[in-house]
């Protein structure tokens, strides 16, 4: 990149951040509520950019962790635990799930398309199971899981004892987006991040240098799950509702446009915010023997 353009980069980023927050004072509430969901999905998209773009893991399961985060937040918040504990659980449950699923996947040396199918089926299994737990027998504490009806009346996030209104929730989401982005940028530049990129480029070579690819992939997978879970909790608080359709891949389909930020091409106009929030992950290189012209 030429020096002139490079010089503009920090300025452009500063403007973007100002715009992200400034919007809260410039638009009407209805538009702000819509923008809020884009910001939340951008956080989900960042988790995908990490798992797909940086680590090269074809996981169709990010929506699982999104859903687990949403349900964890809803159940704990409705059971009277404060926002802090509810949000904490929204991070922990997906992390636990990802640790389990990741161990199964990466230590079983499952990769590329086959990994995609297993994560897809996992999301579908979970979707079907949650769909069927309607009826008042299925309770966690005081909260009925609701099956296909979902859980209504999810309380909003409360900070320092005060419940956040729509505008404040937007600002919180925006702040978390910036934080997650900065954190991921740092992660990508760190030693760990460089090794993960190397594993994505050529797993065998990384292992021949002595790096345990399975452990590194598991680590990234878990971090991605935590971020997706956070987005899920925000989504539940935003809508005041959580239902089984946050789980399967059609939810992913909405942010799949956002996931195009894995590649340097922007798409979906509604996800312009997601593009702004792109981690700048390098152009994805599947590294799998795929397609015509590749002997397999």
């Amino acid at each position: 990149m030429s020096a002139r353009i490079a010089g503009f980069k920090p300025l452009a980023w500063a403007l973007a951040v100002v715009a992200l927050f400034g919007v809260a004072w410039l638009v009407d509430l209805a538009t702000l509520v819509t923008l809020n969901v884009y910001v939340i999905l951008s956080i989900l998209a960042l988790s995908m950019a990490l798992v797909w773009g940086v680590a090269g893991i074809f996981s169709f399961g990010q929506s699982v962790f999104f859903g687990l985060g949403a349900y964890a937040y809803a159940v704990l918040a409705l059971n009277g635990q404060g926002s802090a504990i509810a949000l904490g659980a929204a991070l922990l449950l997906p992390v636990a799930g990802a640790a389990l699923m990741g161990y199964f996947l990466f230590y079983g040396r499952i990769s590329d398309v086959y990994l995609g199918v297993i994560t897809l089926t996992a999301s579908l299994i979970l979707f079907h199971l949650v769909n069927t737990v309607s009826g008042s027998d299925f309770r966690l504490g005081a909260v009925a899981l609701g099956g296909y009806n979902g859980i209504p009346g999810v309380p909003p996030i409360a900070l320092f004892g005060q419940e956040l209104d729509f505008a404040q929730l937007y600002l919180l989401s925006a702040a978390l987006l910036v934080l997650v982005y900065a954190g991921l940028k740092g992660l990508v530049r760190s030693r760990f991040g460089q090794v993960v990129a190397a594993i994505r480029e050529h797993e065998l070579r990384a292992e021949l240098l002595g790096y345990d690819a399975r452990a590194h992939k598991l680590g990234v997978f878990v971090i991605g799950a935590a971020i997706a879970g956070l987005a899920g909790a925000l989504h539940a608080a935003w809508g005041g509702f959580v239902g089984p359709d946050v789980l399967p891949t059609w939810c992913w389909a909405r942010s799949s446009c956002c996931a195009c930020c894995c590649c340097p091409r922007a798409c979906c106009p509604g996800c312009a915010s997601a593009y702004r929030a792109a981690t700048g992950a390098p152009h994805e290189r599947p590294g799998i023997p795929a397609g015509p012209g590749h002997p397999h």
């Binding site: 079983g108 086959y114 995609g116 897809l120």
Partner: protein, 287 residues
Amino acid sequence: MDYAVLSFHLVYAIALLVLTSLGLAIVFGMMRVVNFAHGEFLMIGGYTLVLSVQAGLNIWLAMFVVAPAVVGLVGYALERLIIRHLYGRMLDTILATWGVSLALIGLATWAFGFQQRGVVAPLGSFTLGGYRDSWYSVLIIAVATALVLGTWWVLRHTRTGLLARGTMQNAPMAEALGMNTSRVYAWTFAAGAAISGLAGAVMAPLTGAVPTIGTAYVTRAFITVITGGANAITGTVVASSLFGTLSELVTRWATPVAGHVALLALAVVLLRLMPSGITGRFFRRSL
């Protein structure tokens, strides 16, 4: 329980899976392209049948000639316009075909509306002892079998099939021998699409034609094909047999949802044991 009836239902369940997966298997197995618009190929085939019949065309002509031709054309266009630019980039292909799928569903909804259109299943029913079923189920089994055998025969015993297999194995070599590989890709994709169109048309009298009908089948087809592994025909048949049998047995014993979950769980187990699909481990030299 009457075992003959049970076997018939098992074979039927397997045939359904084979029918809805074969087109996707050919495209994935031969070209390593994951086509998420596969469900919409089924949908277009179904609509072609329903609309042709409503316009007065003979149902068998519509089913076995018109539907495959129409969807084959759509597939050819899709390959030329989009897929050929994305070979080797699996992530991009998935996203692009997903986008096409959404677009096609939107188009169908706009053109035909939400309500289901139907065609009566022809052929009537038969009785076997105390049991009654429709001849149409037999037709479905017959069509699935014919498609599998036909595809196998073409790949194994015809020059076209040999050229296609050669191109897929080693395209630069094929080109060096003078083959127009880009044409082979286009025709292979079109063939996979045509088979999916035929499958969609065959199933339309049972399911009706609705813009979202494809989504009901695409995940099951996707899972069957990938679990089957790289060898299109053997993989699909073996995976369909395993999934169809388990899913049907569990559905009889419990509920359809349980049957679906059992299929998914079996897929996870199989892929854990055979990380490259079934034909990555067994039947490796087959087609």
